[in-house]
Symmetry: C3
Subunit: 363 residues, 3 copies
Amino acid sequence: MTYTIETIARSLGAQAFGDLSLEIDAVAEPQDAGTRDLALAMKPAFAERLPEGQALAAVLWEGADFEALGLKAAIVPARPRYALSGLSKQFDHGESFPKGVHPSAFVDPAAELGVDVTVGPLAVVSAGARIGAGSVVGPQSFIGACATLGEGCFLREGVRIGARTTLGARVIVQPGAVIGGDGFSFVTPEQSAVERTRASLGDQGEGESQHWERINSLGAVHIGDDCEIGANACIDRGTVRDTKIGARTKLDNLVHIGHNVVIGTDCLICGQVGMAGSSTIGNNCVFAGQVGLNDNIFVGDNVIAGGATKIFTNVPKGRVLLGYPAVKMETHVESYKAIRRLPRLFKQVAELQKAVFKNAEND
Amino acid sequence: MTYTIETIARSLGAQAFGDLSLEIDAVAEPQDAGTRDLALAMKPAFAERLPEGQALAAVLWEGADFEALGLKAAIVPARPRYALSGLSKQFDHGESFPKGVHPSAFVDPAAELGVDVTVGPLAVVSAGARIGAGSVVGPQSFIGACATLGEGCFLREGVRIGARTTLGARVIVQPGAVIGGDGFSFVTPEQSAVERTRASLGDQGEGESQHWERINSLGAVHIGDDCEIGANACIDRGTVRDTKIGARTKLDNLVHIGHNVVIGTDCLICGQVGMAGSSTIGNNCVFAGQVGLNDNIFVGDNVIAGGATKIFTNVPKGRVLLGYPAVKMETHVESYKAIRRLPRLFKQVAELQKAVFKNAEND
Amino acid sequence: MTYTIETIARSLGAQAFGDLSLEIDAVAEPQDAGTRDLALAMKPAFAERLPEGQALAAVLWEGADFEALGLKAAIVPARPRYALSGLSKQFDHGESFPKGVHPSAFVDPAAELGVDVTVGPLAVVSAGARIGAGSVVGPQSFIGACATLGEGCFLREGVRIGARTTLGARVIVQPGAVIGGDGFSFVTPEQSAVERTRASLGDQGEGESQHWERINSLGAVHIGDDCEIGANACIDRGTVRDTKIGARTKLDNLVHIGHNVVIGTDCLICGQVGMAGSSTIGNNCVFAGQVGLNDNIFVGDNVIAGGATKIFTNVPKGRVLLGYPAVKMETHVESYKAIRRLPRLFKQVAELQKAVFKNAEND
């Protein structure tokens, strides 16, 4: 995995300076870089640590003087953070899973594998499953009956794809993710305490024993092209139709997506976000870590929710949210400041009472 | 999987109208239904989309006119949502795991399997384990030493059942769930900063280094009959006695149950709920998604907690909770409204100050 | 697993009284104890239940009169909770995994196993992996390419160790944990709505579609000596350098650690805590369940955060936190009390307005 400065710069569409024939084996932070590493010093603050390492070449910001920094060569991309995307792909060593169908895997004879499919050690591919060309089913992963993977999917170790689940092309799934668990859907023969509480906003009526009858999940899960699903994340099957994740949407670790949820395209759903059943999320939404969503609500396109925002009701397009319960981010900041000012307010009101009512009896 | 309208209606105990001999292969939402699908149009709003599909028969609400809706037959149950439970079982295609003990599974000779037990591909059943009649151990699942499964359990793919864990009859476990991890229990040789903080409500005293010594989990986990455990959920072993989940209680995905917790019967514990160690929960409780419970507290029967409620102290029977920290739902709504009114209150107090103290110096 | 009272007391460094030759097979809670169990009655409240069981010996508190409690022998440790650590290790039956390399496991010929290594049924050890002496790779666990385990590690069933991950000595990993998933790191070609929102604190500017380009994770994960990682917890790889967990730090179930995070030594990170990428945590920190941390922040040594605290900004050394957003625990308690007093305050201000402005027009 050796490239010249020239090759790297060209592949990034970046400017290059100095000795373009210098060979690079890896990228590194400035303080850790060896003589064959490309140091990532995209800001002056990072570049300050170059002397701690031995880098001869670095990625620098527009206008940086590589020679003054003691370097022999430099790459200067237009948007350094974006360049990191290209660089990280060039220098990734990957998982090194053994190629082809491993003899220890169990592939049902009634499964269909496209060309160049890899099935890792001790993986299972069930009857009726179809795996698109070039896809990788990682070690100890499971593909359920009649599940479908598009071309170029990459499933890491221990992934669980339930029966009848569909993954588009180039979907990446991190270890331990479960796509196609059964929905959490139960019903009581009579109206339940929860239904009464929702109707009355707080009064559950008479609280007797209640028996929960299971509603099985007949739908499956559909994941669009170019999605990514995080480690140990869970996406449940729909009740009648499929739960759906739109193309290019990315889910982080330990995310929970309930049955019937529909998420649009190009969303970022960060770690430990949870969505209850039957909610609909627009395109281009970004939910920070630990955000929670109620069931059966609608969230418009381009909504951004800060860390641990708890969304109980519909959200119009473009809103930026924070808090429990979720409010506009600026409203949350205001409320928070107001709460911090309360001790002073209590004092002011006490003074007013004293001044107005003269005697202390009134308090 | 073909039934007539008559058969379906009879099995649901529902009324049927029109051509009772019409054959049905599946259920579908109205807009997606084909000619051999039973459309689920339990409300007028759903029925409006019937013309988008091709349904000849539907499940309708009491009093609906199926002929006016252009249908040849209809099923009208007393409580449509409850009928969905029966319907979803009739039309479920299931997981299609291969029957019997798969040759790729490892079953220790010292394990006991009841009649009609299925052990999926690449599953492990350890020495001393006992699997009840008719139970299914899904592909790549693990049954630890001396664990016991009752009759008719259904474990999906990649389930982990730790040593000495007991599951009752008909327990359903979703993919990746871990029942019987070790409790998270550590102790310092001297009183720890956390113990000092709890005693003083906020002052941890001198913060030095502290060494955590592990307390091993000698207890196991006991799951009652007819429970369901969600995907990637975790239930830890007890320290001395078992952690216990009461009969018919259902846990959703990514739920965390700490060591020594005792949960009653017929509870619904939704996605990503977390319970710290040694708490006791009554019967018929419903905790919405992302609810959190402190350790060593008692929650009475029939308690309902809204989304992301954080419960720090004991809760009496029948209470409906919301908020962080948890308060009665109506109190939370009141506090929330009060906070929203604060900007106006600040203005009012400023006006009062001006009026009462005349000059601005006083502020 | 039989010990005399004398042996047990000596190994705990505790005092012993009565018949020191009495044999003990197990520990039990007082009400459940049989004649060969050591009852755990460290407090008078626990001892009250001794008559419900049949214990002849118990662990008691300093000053307890064992004969008056009807016992033949007693062990009295200086700090009973700490003694539980030693006792629980003595009486632990463990997982009973089959010893040695199981024939059903797949161990790549290019992996190196130290002496006395156990590899469980259907586990995978990849090329270039090195497993330290005495370590246990549990059933169905996965060790990625070039990963390294120190001596005496214990991995339970279904653990996933990604390629190039490093575990120190004596690390314990609970079932289903994923160490070395890819970081959740994406970048847009142009400045994204999230970047604009952060810069403006709430205004995301024009909300158009945005395409997320993946940044691959070139770093790995480094876990220090004597750490423990909980069931289904997830620790992501770093982008360029390793994500790091300091020695002796313990993570509970379903914890999420983002890319590039650095955690110090001797921390306790409880169930469902989530840390976004690139944050740095000091030594001896304790985070209760469901705590959340923003990305790119610094938390000093000896910080304690109560349940579900959401930390958005840097935290100085020694602070005790609670709330969303996190504040000092005492400030949170104050704010909470103030909010509960608001209805009274509204009334007081209304009375003042009436008194000061006389007529109702002013409101």
